[in-house]
């Protein structure tokens, strides 16, 4: 009995889809546009995530050693720091390399460079270059390094530390802001998409209102009337996703040069980004499309079932 009824529901959904072909095409087009905006936001979020991870990976913090630290003690310190789970990489930089790094990082500040040139000897005693997995962990690690057992060997109160701290905080805040803005834009786009698709399906079902009334008058149950519309909503979703996925790859390839020009060395291949995240993208598309189309159909049909 269930299979018979389900088979008929599928048949009616198919008939309705084909016999209202242009209405189906219009609805699918709107669903595709809505999903396109959702997918664009998703890809934008993946791209910013990629850029931030590149920035994080490139962010090193240099901590100068004090006069009390010998090279042997520095090697012990490096081993100790490597044991911290948040630390990705630690490297001892000898005094000459430290001086060279310092010059490079302050090449835009002529006062510092002149002061350095005025000195006849190398003022640096070597430094440690720190790189971590997560940029948010930097302040915690630097706080750890401020403890007594390390502080006598590390000059962590100097400007280098402060600069690093400001940089780290700046990047963390920037990252959080981008994520907040991304979330806000995503929600806005999803909301607009929901409203547009909802209205399109409402209009579509409005054209069936008389038919729904007749079905009720000849003894069709509410579920028997409603089910084909819900199935049609799911069919719209699947067709939209297939078409959109086919369109999305060439569009991304077309946009690649512009994205490269904007993000420069932080850029990445949009197609490979999409390919890596294909299940996430299709999953979100499927969820958004099915929920919107089925919920819209359900609400719209309910209005005309009261006969």
């Amino acid at each position: 009995m269930f299979l018979l009824e389900f088979g008929r529901v599928l048949k009616f959904a198919g008939q309705s889809f084909l016999r209202n072909f242009w209405l189906s095409v219009a609805t699918i087009t709107i669903v595709i546009l809505a999903l396109f905006s959702v997918s664009s936001v998703l890809i934008f979020n993946f791209m910013t995530g990629h850029v931030l991870s590149v920035v994080e990976a490139k962010t090193d913090v240099y901590i100068d050693l004090t006069g009390e630290a010998s090279e042997e003690q520095a090697a012990v310190l490096v081993d100790e720091l490597k044991k911290l789970s948040a630390v990705k990489e630690v490297e001892f930089i000898n005094p000459e390399a430290t001086l060279e790094n310092f010059r490079q990082r302050h090449q835009d500040n002529p006062l510092i460079i002149q002061s350095l040139d005025a000195l006849e000897t190398n003022p640096f005693l070597g430094s440690l270059r720190l790189n971590v997995y997560k940029i948010e962990d930097f302040p915690v690690i630097l706080a750890e390094l401020s403890k007594k057992e390390y502080s006598q060997f590390l000059d962590i109160e100097d400007k280098e530390f402060t600069d690093s701290k400001i940089l780290v905080q700046g990047i963390s805040e920037y990252s959080a802001k981008i994520q907040r803005a991304g979330l806000f834009v995503s929600l806005l786009f999803v909301l607009i998409s929901i409203l547009v698709v909802f209205n399109t399906i409402q209009v579509g079902i409005y054209t069936h209102r008389e038919e729904i009334g007749i079905m009720k008058l000849v003894g069709a149950s509410n579920s028997f009337i409603r089910s084909p519309f819900l199935i049609e909503g799911i069919v719209y979703s699947f067709i939209s996703i297939i078409i959109l996925t086919a369109i999305l790859f060439p569009v991304l390839a077309f946009l690649q040069p512009y994205v490269d020009g904007f993000f420069k060395e932080y850029s990445t291949s949009l197609v490979s980004l999409m390919t890596r995240n294909i299940f996430k993208v299709v999953g979100v598309q499927l969820l958004v499309a099915v929920v919107i189309t089925v919920a819209s159909s359900y609400i719209a049909v309910r209005k005309y079932l009261k006969v």
Partner: protein
């Protein structure tokens, strides 16, 4: 078969569609309900198919008290009553065959039974060869025949026709009334709501006359008296 006991129907704010109407229709009868527009004829039909509920009184159909019928029971009631409307109410995107078959499909009838019954009723109403046509490809009379065929597929004990000839010319109207008589002769109770004087007078069957929501006349072999 049908019992109305002191049935009233009020619409807000102060319209009285039916006022304490009591009537009984026996199995196999052919009853015409007549009256001018707005006298409550269509309200009787709407109450019979549970499109409306009475404000007061009780309604019984074949021993089933439908006065407070539940929403989920309504489809089962409607499958047992054949209904013919003035404006046909056909599914425009379905063919003649599909329109008739739909009434059986809704109640889960097996495909074999549908294939067997639908051509039979289409033949009864004289539409063989037009099974594949859509409603817009048929004349008014033919569309009304499809509606009658649809109402017959359940082999209902009761057929209700609300102004079935209202949109038809006299020849088609005559044919539809003859068809209803034929269905009645086969044992189905028929309730015909109309204000077509000629149709009522030619039938020479029971006539119930409504005026301002009340029964003013009930004659076993009546005429149109208004």
């Amino acid at each position: 078969m049908i019992k109305f006991h002191q049935v009233s129907k009020y619409y807000k704010p102060d319209t009285v569609a039916l006022n304490k109407v009591s009537l009984e229709i026996k199995p196999g009868e052919f009853v015409s309900i007549v009256g001018q527009s707005g006298t409550g004829k269509t309200t009787v039909i709407r109450l019979l198919i549970a499109e409306e509920k009475p404000s007061e009184g009780r309604i019984m159909i074949g021993g089933w008290d439908i006065t407070d019928i539940k929403e989920r029971e309504v489809p089962y009631l409607r499958r047992q009553i054949g209904v013919v409307f003035q404006d046909f109410k056909l599914l425009k995107k379905k063919t003649v065959f599909e329109n008739v078959a739909f009434a059986l499909e809704t109640c889960g009838a097996p495909s074999g039974k549908i294939e067997h019954i639908v051509p039979q009723v289409i033949k009864i109403v004289g539409l063989e060869g037009k099974e594949g046509r859509y409603p817009y490809q048929l004349s008014g009379g033919e569309q009304q025949r499809v509606v009658i065929a649809r109402s017959l597929v359940h082999k209902p004990k009761l057929l209700v026709a609300d102004e079935p000839t209202g949109n038809l010319d006299s020849i088609n109207a005559r044919e539809i009334i003859d068809l209803l008589k034929k269905i009645n002769d086969l044992g189905t109770t028929v309730i015909l709501v109309t204000h077509d004087r000629d149709v009522v007078n030619s039938l020479k069957r029971r006539v119930i006359t409504l005026d301002q929501g009340e029964i003013i006349s009930d004659q076993s072999k009546g005429r149109y008296v208004l």
